[in-house]
Symmetry: C2
């Protein structure tokens, strides 16, 4: 089996599985806020995990807020910034944001805020000139900016540092959706100097239902889940200590894999070039943009992506057509629409997303499989 | 070891551990919203878990909303009812609610709502006469009622059915915090006819960071965590499918233990009587009220609860002094204050909370241990 849907969700990593097997056997299990030894030991394990996550992510210990995932982190940041905001009315997002950002922005849009959606280039990068223009025109009325670090469908890396610099200059809070970025490429939160970043454990090989909200100044957080003062009052509810421990295991393990990035990138680009040589009509979305090492978004215009996905599945290769949140719809995804892709491309894409530990020869197997499948489907199409 | 802090948090149950060991080995791991077979299989497993939870909880399939725990459920219900509420201004809670309810109510209190806190009797039961009076006086101005089913410290069961009837009569939304009730005593959501109930996986032996919001009419839910339309739009974020599966395993296993309730209750009452016979000064909090089978909140006035807890710990018996959220403070808990307990009782309590599968002879061991400890501490005190 080739699992090539890591941007959708990662399987529990082997390290995490091994960790949990031992963890289940030896304990402790207790409320980490309990007064007794088992509680204290549980708390200590979780706080060690926090320190390990902070180290990998280049954050201070106090900047790590454990939660249930990136979507919660995103909702928390919007809530933090906008629940008390009354003067500034504009929310800037981009046309390629994940639904978690888009839908949250529009929720506040329905409550009196104005959502402005930044256009993106045909290469899948947010348009910095327009961004600059918007800030010039109306910086004092911009409540927040939410633009991602890397796109979930295309893998295209966004100029988030430049966006952040402009936000800082104009004193605008910036939420960077780093869900697809963290764990796939080195990221240092403090060096980035971003206000808020998020990640999800299930994208990292950690336990499902876990995540981290990174906050430059955690004291500013307005808890979305209120509760009994856990996570220093920033996120209520008895802490998911087992899950949080797996975040430390997964992140520490991924950190070691960053050395694989150059070889993976080289191999992926060879794979893409070989595909294009064999089938010149093929489109690699965001081909000329900086991309995550592990993502190829590939279309043969006129051949339905879902057909390709199913053929791959019959060969025990698992990909998706777009993001998990939208791929049940046989339409061009909003990301591709924002990039100006035509429908024959939009309906033709499949997303191949590996992990940093995937064997390089997966790309050879993917090349063989896709060659066979495109050849077969072209024949059917030509009847 | 005797773990007697189940009201604080339950260890992962053996059934859940066994389940996860097999589950980790065989998979599948995928985004449950993904288009491919692994996604569909993951989704199916999770929806089977939902059906199993619905069955145990006497709810419809669509009334089960998976989330990260009771605190999230509580915040979601307040958000659902109060975010759009403008006319009705009163929130009724009680003096023995968990911080998750109290703090959430006061958050809305700081945003223009009026929080009214229902008094409780010295036996730890909310005062129904006052409740009735408040409804009579001002029913049209009550936005919601949040009163628990069973108290986390005392184990005292509240007249939630009567409260619900009055709420229904007056068309007031009712959130019943069933966190300590579910899994410790049979509960049928549809028969209860309550609008909203909540539970936490970590109280049930399921994976930490899991939970269920039960909603009579889920369509009314206003998502707190917005995201990409998961859980039918009621709770965003890629579902914690592994965690949700463990909820089904844990609840199904607990259901089988309900037959242990009569024997446990009898044994617990004998234990309490024996303690009182040996030490007539002892106070059992809520002694004459209906209580959970597994909870004894016991004080020797003048002997510090924390000393008793530490002595028990030295015998490998783990209890707390009050709830995990407040037991780091050597003061009378707000629950005991609401019950009018004096400080010598309030500072003297320890909470013994077992589970439905605890061996009955734990109470004999607890009797021996407490007898030894009280005798020892009384001697020290008398110097």
């Amino acid at each position: 089996m080739i699992y090539a849907d890591y941007n959708g969700s990662a399987p529990l990593s082997q390290e995490v599985r091994d960790y949990l097997l031992k963890r289940f056997e030896k304990g402790p299990f207790a409320n980490p806020n309990a007064i007794h030894y088992l509680g204290a030991k549980t708390l200590m394990g979780m706080e060690n995990a926090r320190a390990a996550c902070a180290k990998v992510l280049g954050a201070d210990f106090d900047q790590i807020i454990f939660n249930s995932g990136a979507t919660e982190g995103i909702s928390t940041v919007f809530h933090t910034i906008l629940s008390n905001e009354i003067h500034k009315k504009i929310i800037i997002i981009s046309g390629i944001e994940h639904s978690a950002v888009v839908n949250t922005a529009h929720y506040y849009g329905s409550r009196g805020f104005i959502v402005k959606t930044l256009p993106v280039t045909t290469e899948g990068i947010v348009d910095l000139e327009v961004f600059h223009q918007w800030l010039k025109e109306d910086a004092n009325n911009i409540a927040m900016v939410a633009i991602m670090a890397a796109n979930n469908e295309t893998g295209v890396i966004q100029p988030y540092q430049k966006i952040n610099s402009e936000c800082i200059e104009n004193n605008i809070p910036y939420l960077c959706d780093t869900t697809q970025y963290i764990g796939k490429t080195p990221f240092n939160f403090k060096e980035s100097n971003i206000d808020y970043a998020v990640c999800s454990g299930h994208k990292l090989g950690a336990m499902t239902g876990t995540g981290i909200l990174l906050a430059k100044d955690a004291e500013k957080i307005l808890a979305l889940i209120i509760g009994g003062g856990q996570e220093k009052g920033h996120r209520g509810g008895t802490q998911n200590y087992l899950g949080n421990e797996t975040l430390a295991v997964a992140l520490s393990s991924l950190e070691k894999s960053f050395t694989n990035i150059p070889a993976l990138t080289k191999k992926r680009m060879e794979f893409e070039q070989n595909m294009k040589t064999s089938f010149p009509e093929i489109v690699i979305i965001g081909e000329h943009s900086p991309r995550l090492a592990t993502t190829t978004y590939i279309a043969y215009p006129g051949i339905h992506g879902q057909a390709v996905q199913m053929e791959l599945e019959s060969l025990d290769i698992f990909v998706t057509t777009s993001s998990a949140c939208s791929d049940n719809m046989p339409v061009t995804s909003k990301v591709l629409k924002a990039m100006g892709a035509c429908d024959s491309v939009g309906r033709g894409v499949v997303r191949i997303s590996l992990c940093l530990n995937s064997p390089l020869d997966y790309y050879d197997l993917l090349f063989d499989a896709l060659t066979k499948i495109y050849t077969k489907l072209l024949k059917i199409k030509s009847y």
